[in-house]
């Protein structure tokens, strides 16, 4: 089969991502002596035959006796999909084969193919070793690397659009694109900041002049867009911005971060929020600080998500605390959504800003412990 050669290495890659040790091909010794685990799914229930099982290769046989099309998922913590089977038509059964290391999981049936599904706990115990700690950290950097690549690609695309709008002297469109392009930048800012001069050139505020640099980049165009509304002379600035962004994207994709850098980056992003976004200093002309706030938060969350398997092994309690605090910040920030964007910084009251600031500080506390746990 021609597909074989290419799917197996790819599948092996997926295994690594999922944090498993099994190999993509090879023997198929069912770890379960009793054969597949039966799952009875209906429109309102999801009965898993045994909810405490041995680690290894597990097969679920899901039978849908309801009237709606069903789906069956096995989730690891944080709703990471370990395996899923879709399109289980009424009256039919389908199998899900998945490799599960020891740990706690959730099973879910989704009658009607939507929503969070009917959840149930699944405990997996046994001897199939989970990944060695160092391997878990290795995966963390690999998976964060993929995140950086996806974000930088989008950053480049959005910056190109923004630059095109500026050069076309299309003020309205440039204003619309500005916070969007910045979102991708702000998500990976700690990576970007490790490249010396490029960061102030792209993201410097007016104060850089005091350090003998020219005031260029996003904020220079922001100033013209929102103060005078005249960007007819900004063509060169926009071109330079694109050149700089391209340079930083190339560098960011070539950069191999250490787990410690990830941990520190997650913290740095929160500090960014506290120092620049809450104060309204970053986007002083456009007041689109909440876009950046959200992006910093997402970037921080992505770094933590990449470290998650390693943190689970080393400090499960810290992971719980992080989940709680992230949820709290998201809830606090969520109040200020406006359409598919955010309210302007100027529309927030002192009390609202204080609430945001408090929630960020509460999250910064467990995040600051991550580095120490990673360094153990």
């Amino acid at each position: 089969m021609r597909t074989t050669r290419f799917v197996v290495p790819a599948a092996a890659g997926v295994l690594v991502v999922a944090g498993l040790t099994g190999c993509g091909g090879g023997d198929d010794s069912d770890a379960k002596a009793g054969g597949p685990i039966a799952v009875k799914a209906t429109d309102s229930a999801c009965e898993v035959d045994s909810t405490e099982i041995e680690a290894g290769q597990v097969t679920f046989k899901v039978t849908n006796s309801g009237s709606k099309v069903n789906e069956f998922y096995v989730y690891a913590a944080g709703d990471r999909v370990m395996g899923e089977v879709e399109n289980i038509a009424p009256g039919l059964s389908r199998e899900l084969r998945v490799e599960l290391p020891a740990g706690t999981y959730e099973t879910a049936c989704k009658p009607g193919m939507s929503g969070r599904g009917i959840r149930g706990a699944l405990k997996v115990s046994g001897t199939v070793a989970t990944v060695a700690p160092d391997a878990a950290l290795g995966q963390a950097t690999a998976s964060y690397q993929r995140y950086v690549q996806s974000q930088t690609a989008a950053l480049l695309t959005r910056t190109e659009e923004f630059v095109a709008a500026v050069k076309a002297n299309d003020v309205a469109r440039a204003k619309d694109l500005y916070p969007v392009a910045r979102t991708y930048w702000e998500r990976i800012e700690p990576v970007a900041e490790s490249f010396g001069d490029l960061d102030p050139k792209i993201d410097g505020r007016e104060e850089v002049v005091e350090e003998g640099m020219q005031f260029t980049g996003f904020h220079r165009i922001e100033k013209d867009l929102w103060t005078t509304g005249d960007i007819s002379k900004d063509g060169a600035i926009a071109d330079q911005l694109l050149v700089d962004v391209k340079a930083i994207v190339a560098k960011a994709n070539a950069e191999k971060l250490t787990p410690l850098q990830l941990a520190n980056g997650a913290k740095a992003l929160l500090d960014e929020v506290a120092s620049g976004k809450i104060t309204g200093e970053e986007e002083r002309y456009s007041h689109t600080d909440l876009w950046d706030f959200n992006a910093n938060l997402e970037g921080s969350k992505a770094a933590i998500a990449a470290l998650r398997p390693a943190l689970e092994q080393r400090s499960p309690d810290l992971v719980k605390q992080l989940d709680t605090e992230f949820a709290a910040v998201e809830a606090a920030l969520g109040k200020h959504r406006a359409g598919d964007g955010w309210k302007l910084h100027t529309q927030l009251s002192k009390a609202e800003l204080k609430e945001l600031s408090d929630s960020i500080n509460a999250l910064a506390e467990p995040i600051s412990k991550v580095a120490a746990v990673v360094a153990r």
Binding site: T4, G25, L92, G112, R146
Partner: protein, 316 residues
């Protein structure tokens, strides 16, 4: 039973739509000689899906047996399909331009269609969903064999058959419209389809754990767009419009559809007008009848109805 029928319809549409546009395009641009390659690609994909599905269902193969590997397989084939389809979109644009400004006779030269590309596109369009569809069929066949009646099997087959009929109707109506409209409209339609396939691929990459953000939803309109309703199945099958997409797949959709649509619909620069009267088109004779049975409606010579172009005066 209706729910099962809709599964067949949705999975079927995901494959037939691209194939029927491809066939219509080849017929319209007088490249019928390429049709065998299309059917070869489709046939190979179906056979492979059936064989692989059988291996997974009835033997203890570990190749693609894990759901994650299958997600990855679907994701990779979907993205590959997008590459092919995008290329075809711009091919159509070129065709539209050739018709708009130059001699229609040159159309065939302008479109030197690689047979491998055509076969590959048809193959990818079908294999994408073929494996999953085959597996659904096997599960239905097992229940039928188990004595619970063959209802599910018939519903599924009915759904797929309906998808094929829709594809065929699309093909037939595409043949009826005049040439430059045809290229513009089917091209635009194809862009939406391709954007949908890309979005689907991104979603599968997320499910396979290769891309992050599976639980980061852009919006959730399940209350309005019920995935269990017929229109939900149609929208999902044709354009992969889903009720609760992730942020990343939405970005992928927009990042593909918007620039490609803009590029596609951009007014092409007016090509040089030939001063001499046009030579007769290469093969404007009525196309020979095909098994598809479209001989009933030989498309009228487009020049007759085309106000937008200034081809040579119509020949009797």
């Amino acid at each position: 039973m209706f729910a099962t029928y809709l599964i067949g319809l949705r999975e079927g549409l995901e494959a037939t739509l691209v194939v029927s546009i491809l066939v219509a395009f080849l017929v319209k641009s007088q490249r019928r000689d390429r049709l065998p390659q299309v059917w070869a690609g489709v046939g190979l994909a179906v056979v492979l899906s059936v064989v692989f599905g059988w291996l997974i269902e009835y033997t203890s193969t570990s190749l693609l047996a894990r759901s994650e590997d299958r997600e990855l397989f679907e994701a990779v084939t979907s993205v590959a399909a997008v590459v092919f389809v995008t290329w075809m979109i711009f091919w159509m644009r070129k065709a539209a331009r050739t018709i708009a400004g130059e001699l229609r006779g040159k159309l065939t030269e302008a479109l030197a269609v690689g047979s491998l590309a055509v076969a590959g596109m048809a193959f990818l369009a079908v294999i994408r969903e073929g494996l999953e569809t085959a597996l659904i069929f096997y599960s239905a066949a097992q229940s039928a064999a188990g004595g619970t009646g063959a209802g599910a099997l018939l519903s599924l087959a009915g759904g797929v058959a309906t998808a094929v009929v829709i594809g065929f109707l699309l093909y037939r109506s595409a043949l009826k419209i005049n040439l430059s409209k045809f290229f513009t409209w089917t091209g635009a339609l194809l862009i939406l389809v391709a954007a949908g396939i890309l979005k689907y691929g991104v979603h599968d990459f997320q499910e396979a754990g290769v891309l992050p953000g599976l639980n980061n939803q852009a919006f959730d309109i399940s209350s309005t767009l019920d995935p269990n309703a017929w229109y939900g199945a149609l929208l999902a099958g044709m354009f992969n419009i889903t009720a609760a997409p992730t942020v990343l797949e939405t970005i992928a959709w927009v990042a593909f559809a918007v620039p490609v649509l803009v590029l596609f619909l951009r007014k092409p620069a007016a090509p040089a007008r030939p001063a001499a009267p046009a030579a007769p088109p290469a093969s404007a004779a009525a196309p020979e009848p095909t098994p598809a049975g479209d001989a009933a409606t030989t498309p009228a010579e487009p020049a007759a109805t085309e106000a937008s172009t200034d081809t040579a005066p119509q020949r009797a």
